[in-house]
């Protein structure tokens, strides 16, 4: 199968759906003239001049206008530039977009997509490195996609572009350049369906995005030690595929949840709390979580590596849970 980068897969999803649906338009800071800071919109360069729009640095209107445009019949795709800058327009998301349909008793379909990069780079430091998907899982009203491969990126994003509800998509900065197979034929990936990226019998590792790859790497190392890991990619957090995780845990009796965002009150806690509740008697050891330490992302590379988890942290957690 042909290979695309993660960025190209996103671009292709946009191109295909925009070609079919004239109500889709996309806008944000520095997207039209240079195809996005991480190149995600290179495929759109020179196309759809009315529907690929550079905007002022005005995040509250940037995000809030997506709601207005959706209510007026369009399907806006607003880029938030860096996940950290969702905060400069946060009220438009949490108080408006995520509440509108509910507050008005279901009067409108709020079909809009917010998307952009999250996660670490090399030395992005505290204000350009955050992963804040947990916030949108806690507060109700938006669906969350967190793809880990070009294949998932394209398929999930195409679904988002057809969805009748608000969707937020977090694209990890370190994934944009990664390559993977993407079929020529059109396909859509439904929300709420996890993908078992590796089958195994001893332990279940639940992850997403960059940490999914770290988990797969950890699984390789662990295999050499005789530990057979099942690695589940949730792919979407709202909704999240509880059943697949439960089934796996009932088989492996051990669970690790691994994400890049802070461990404390991160979404791993939700998975852990839910699974211990629903599969209590199947668990042979406590569920362990792997996540960033409770500080901000520091600038200096070794500090960053220490704060943010990688495959070694996943592997240690697995060893701990299996060997005590």
């Amino acid at each position: 199968m042909r290979e695309l980068t993660f960025a190209e897969a996103l671009g292709e999803a946009m191109l295909e759906e925009m070609s079919k649906d004239p109500t889709i338009f996309t806008y944000g800071e520095d997207i039209a003239k240079q195809g996005g800071i991480f190149g995600a919109y290179k495929s759109l360069l020179g196309k759809f001049p009315d529907r690929v729009i550079d905007t002022p640095i005005s995040e509250e209107v940037l995000l809030g206008s997506a709601l207005g445009a959706a209510l007026a019949g369009m399907r806006p795709v607003a880029e938030f530039h860096f996940a950290d800058f969702l905060f400069t327009g946060m009220t438009a998301v949490t108080n408006q977009i995520m509440k509108f349909r509910y507050m008005t008793g279901g009067q409108a379909k709020v079909h809009l997509v917010l998307r952009g990069p999250d996660g670490i780079t090399r030395s992005g430091a505290a204000q350009h490195s955050e992963s804040i998907e947990t916030l949108f899982m806690h507060i109700p009203g938006i669906k969350i996609i967190v793809p880990s491969t070009p294949y998932d990126m394209k398929g999930l994003f195409k679904t988002a572009l057809k969805a009748d509800d608000p969707v937020i998509c977090f694209e990890h900065k370190k994934l944009y350049e990664t390559k993977g197979p993407v079929p020529e034929e059109e396909y859509y990936i439904p929300f709420g369906v996890a993908d078992i990226k590796r089958q195994g019998t001893n332990v279940t590792i639940v992850s997403t995005s960059r940490m999914l790859h770290e988990s797969l790497t950890a699984a390789e190392y662990l295999q050499k030690e005789g530990i057979d890991s099942e690695v589940i990619d949730l792919r979407t957090l709202v909704p999240w595929d509880k059943q697949t995780v439960l089934n796996s845990v009932k088989k492996t009796h051990h669970l690790i949840v691994a994400h890049e965002t802070w461990k404390r009150a991160g979404w791993g806690a939700e998975i852990a709390a839910t699974i211990q509740e629903e599969a209590f008697s199947y668990l042979e050891a406590p569920i362990l979580r792997v996540g960033a330490k409770n500080v901000h992302i520091p600038f200096s590379p070794k500090l960053q590596d220490f704060v943010v988890p990688d495959h070694e942290n996943v592997a240690s957690a697995v060893r701990k849970v299996l060997r005590g």
Partner: protein, 326 residues
Amino acid sequence: MKYSKNFLLGLYRTMVRIRSFETKAEELSLKGEVLGYVHLYIGQEAIATGAMANLSKEDYITSTHRGHGHMIAKGADIGKMMSELYGKVTGYCRGKGGSMHIADLSIGVLGANGEVAGGLPIASGAGMAIKIKKTDQVVVAFFGDGASNRGAVAEAMNWCAVFKLPVIFIAENNHFASTWKEQTTTGKSITDRATGYNIPAVSVDGNDVIAVYEASMHAVDRARRGKGPTLIEAETYRIKGHYVGDKDQMYRNKKEVELYWQKEPIGQFEKKLTEMNLLTAAEKYKVWNDAAKEIDKAVKFAQQSAWPPVESALEDLFADATYCID
């Protein structure tokens, strides 16, 4: 005056219907039948009425926490409004929204808003949609003098100016932001804020329905012709408390309030219409009486409506809520 009697009486009728609705809402809120926080539009009726007289159902507005007047002037069903204020299932939002979240998408009302200035980004987005779809719709975004100090207002003005969006900003300057009179807003007039965005701006007497109508007419016309946004400041005064229940009002002088009751828009307009021989005592009586009857019917409808079933609390978050709620 260059307007037909029919048109002028139409404006009058709308203002009276708003006043009557609000007077009743106040009474019912004090009784505890109407629930939640209620911010009355009393004294500002000329603004919604004058502005909306230029709009059709296809045009959009974004409203505020003080939004009943906007809804009524845009053509909302008073029964569904009252029922929503009661929290009943027949209300506009099936009892989920209440006064501060009332909306009627079918007539272009993109929501009241519990967040001060929260409507302006939404209005900007509706404007973007219109521009891309190339229709001749417009959007009117209402906000208060207090709201004018939120960053969202500045962002929205610049945004709409940059993209030449068909958005009309109407600042309802009632000179209060809850307990504060003016002191938190600089600039000689809110219209000065438009200068920085190269947006034409005009200040009008917000208690004069014709003045508001005409200023809006120009702005709407400009917007429909693709010339971009306009800011209108409508000067008025908040003669009621900030919300029903704001009793002491230690922050202002009772005399001042009495003074402004003399200038309230309906009385002024009645006087003008009477002087022009366009409104007889009988006609006046009929307008108020019709409004009272309509409101009574609405109240009865609300009272007799059912409470929403509890399970409906889990509906309406998403169009497709599969596995998203539990």
